[in-house]
């Protein structure tokens, strides 16, 4: 009883996209304790897909397909599977009505080609797709063969997996022993520096501790195999507690925690409000803060002062200072933070001004030089200078700048609370 992931799509064979679906599903299978020995990628081609199914059928009993469920002639996963198991397709009226309703809700008429997505092998069940028009299949065409199909769009596939496939697989007896894990997240410390601090934990076998590095964020994953979450936590929690103590303020959250959510929660708890003045990030900091639903409770808005005239007109930055020391300077960062705090009458004001590149750098002000200002409720402003590196690209410098600014606010909120 092993699973096999079969990703269908010529775009994968052409290298147009990375197969993140296979990774997601692999991780999920591991969590449920479902063995999984092979993954296959095959193009949008009936004969080759049929051959891949024949091979997978011999060596695996749960066949998980992604891709090829769309409305175009290229999309042929459903009919090929049905054909392989010599089962005719039927049109499901309920699904057809749902697809039509989705188009109606968007104010559009359903193109005739989408009706194809309501075809299903006789005896199969639909795996509902709450966000897209392409539903999947749950089907046992033969004893000891389970077919699950998903669209190739990752967000649709993931939601269908969580909402329908997991409960189905659990009902089939999977998931009694699972891998449970906890990811602790850190900012303001490098991967190797953190790894050295907790090196003695990497030798543990239960739980295991492993580091992962992202963009300016480091994670430590603590994992164990256990029959229940409660049993897992008994193994995981003591190690998590030890790591948090070692890391201090560099630890900011676990698992699904995000920096803007953590900062938002601190602001909400302290009943304080925030505004931002952004130059080189161009709105990116505001965008990250407002990713959190309910952020209007503490985030009032900001000024994108990309042009110096906007810094003067809307943030009261001193024109002479701009001329003398330039927009990328500690003094302008200070005035921007104070300006937005005052104009928007919020408790905190954050400012970012820097050189995102690739052009615009000089010897004294290289690409990656960024000033972050933080105006506090007490009227104090502190400015930090960062050099995010000439080797990083524009988007990375902008993103690190926004997250670093948020992290500075987080540390200040924690110290003051």
């Amino acid at each position: 009883m092993a699973a096999e992931i079969i990703c269908v799509g010529t775009e994968l064979l052409l290298g147009d996209i990375v197969n993140t679906n296979a990774q997601y599903l692999a991780l999920e299978l591991a969590k449920l304790g479902i063995p999984h020995y092979y993954q296959t990628v095959v193009g949008d081609n009936v004969e080759r897909l049929k051959k891949a199914i024949a091979i997978a059928r011999e060596r695996s009993s749960i066949l998980i397909f992604t891709g090829g469920l769309g409305p175009t002639p290229d999309d042929l996963t459903t009919e090929t599977i049905a054909d392989f198991f010599q089962t005719p397709l039927r049109e499901d009226q309920e699904i057809l009505a749902e697809i039509e309703a989705k188009f109606t809700s968007l104010g559009r008429e359903m193109p005739p080609s989408n009706s194809k997505q309501a075809l299903i092998p006789i005896g199969a069940d639909f795996l509902p797709n709450p966000t897209g028009t392409a539903p999947g299949l749950i089907w046992q065409p033969q004893t000891n063969v389970t077919i699950l199909t998903f669209p190739g769009v990752p967000s649709e596939m993931k939601r269908m997996w969580v909402e329908t496939a997991i409960p189905y697989l659990e009902s089939q007896g999977w998931g009694k022993e699972r891998i449970y894990s906890r990811s602790l997240k850190f900012r303001g410390i490098g991967e190797s520096a953190l790894a050295e601090k907790v090196a003695h934990l990497f030798a543990l076998t239960n739980p295991t501790v492993a580091p992962y590095a992202g963009l300016g964020e480091v994670r430590l994953r603590i994992a164990t195999k256990a029959p229940s979450l409660q049993a897992a936590l008994q193994v995981i929690e003591p190690v998590a507690t030890e790591i948090k103590e070692i890391a201090g303020l560099d630890y900011f959250g676990a698992d699904d925690d995000t920096l803007p959510a953590v900062v938002g929660e601190l602001l909400r708890r302290q009943k304080q409000t925030l505004s931002v003045a952004e130059s080189c990030t161009g709105g990116g900091l505001g965008e990250i803060i407002t990713q959190i639903a309910g952020s209007s409770d503490y985030f009032w808005g900001g000024v994108i002062s990309y042009d110096n005239r906007v810094k003067v007109a809307l943030l009261d930055v001193n024109e002479q200072d701009l001329n003398n020391v330039g927009a990328v300077s500690a003094i302008v960062a200070q005035q921007m933070a104070l300006g937005v705090q005052k104009r928007l009458t919020t408790d905190w004001g954050i400012s970012i001004t820097g050189i995102a590149g690739p052009g615009g750098g000089s010897e004294t002000k290289p690409v990656g030089l960024v000033y972050i200002g933080l105006a506090s409720p007490e009227g104090k402003v502190t400015v930090s200078e960062h050099r995010f590196g000439e080797n990083r690209d524009r988007l990375t410098i902008r993103q690190i700048s926004a997250y670093t600014a948020l992290d500075r606010l987080r540390r200040n909120l924690l110290i003051m609370s």
Copy 2:
């Protein structure tokens, strides 16, 4: 004569890493015009790897392996391939000396386990690894079978591919005919609606035309196999021209073109400036616009008016209108666009106000209701109402809103130019 990519590694089956190697190699094979119909992922297991080789051997003649070349007992790609083709291994003294030298240069002694990496099937050649200790293989164990092996570390694999594998494959006659492609990009039209308009082109065999859908963006990829770019363009261009004529304003760019780059170029050419007033997108539109280096030439900045007080104070939105019809309304969108255009003294002003959800929706104003205002240099304001769908999540609604706003500006710039 087709290639097959076989990625060996239990970490891929556990979902610990994304298989970027397969994408890289797929793209490279496509460039060289080497057909490639299957990819296989298999764990560090002799029996299963052998079975995967047997299957690949039946359907492909160039077998490209990544992973399993390291010094640990888990790494068994070389010996398993040798065993499959019933060929004994020999220890290559030259390679052994090179591995030892690499350790010496790091000031370390070679661990005994690394000597394993100097084993090679009799009759095979080494594929040198300039950066790591694990060399690969180039081997023709039988007529019409070519084996190439690479370590799993992407940077090592890529360098070995470029420096040795490409010249080798070219010496075997590949790369004389390559696949060239052009991706045309569209906005404001769904995948199926566009597909129906150009349905007659999907039947073409040279060039081929295939659709791909992204978030609010649809692409048509026109591809052909040709001995040179010039020859390819002769096949691709007439079809591209026909598609562009059919699509009209829905076509916005090709290949690496992005919407903010295209809009930026139009603004620059018309010497016009832009500012934004963002409510539900929280800065996301400004962020997208300023992803483009040099956007300061035409983008002056904006106001993130997340809270209504900011709409009044910085955008001159009428307080009574806010109370009467609410922030998510055509009239407020209109005032925001005019307000930011006036306050920032730019030619164009874009505004976005809407309900990104998941909370905050009502029967008359559901989640996904978004108003986009566009104030033109002539002082005209037009507001469009959108329903981006209650089934979409917050981040998607925000992103589609920002891109739709940019696309509205693009269409207006094109009509006026």
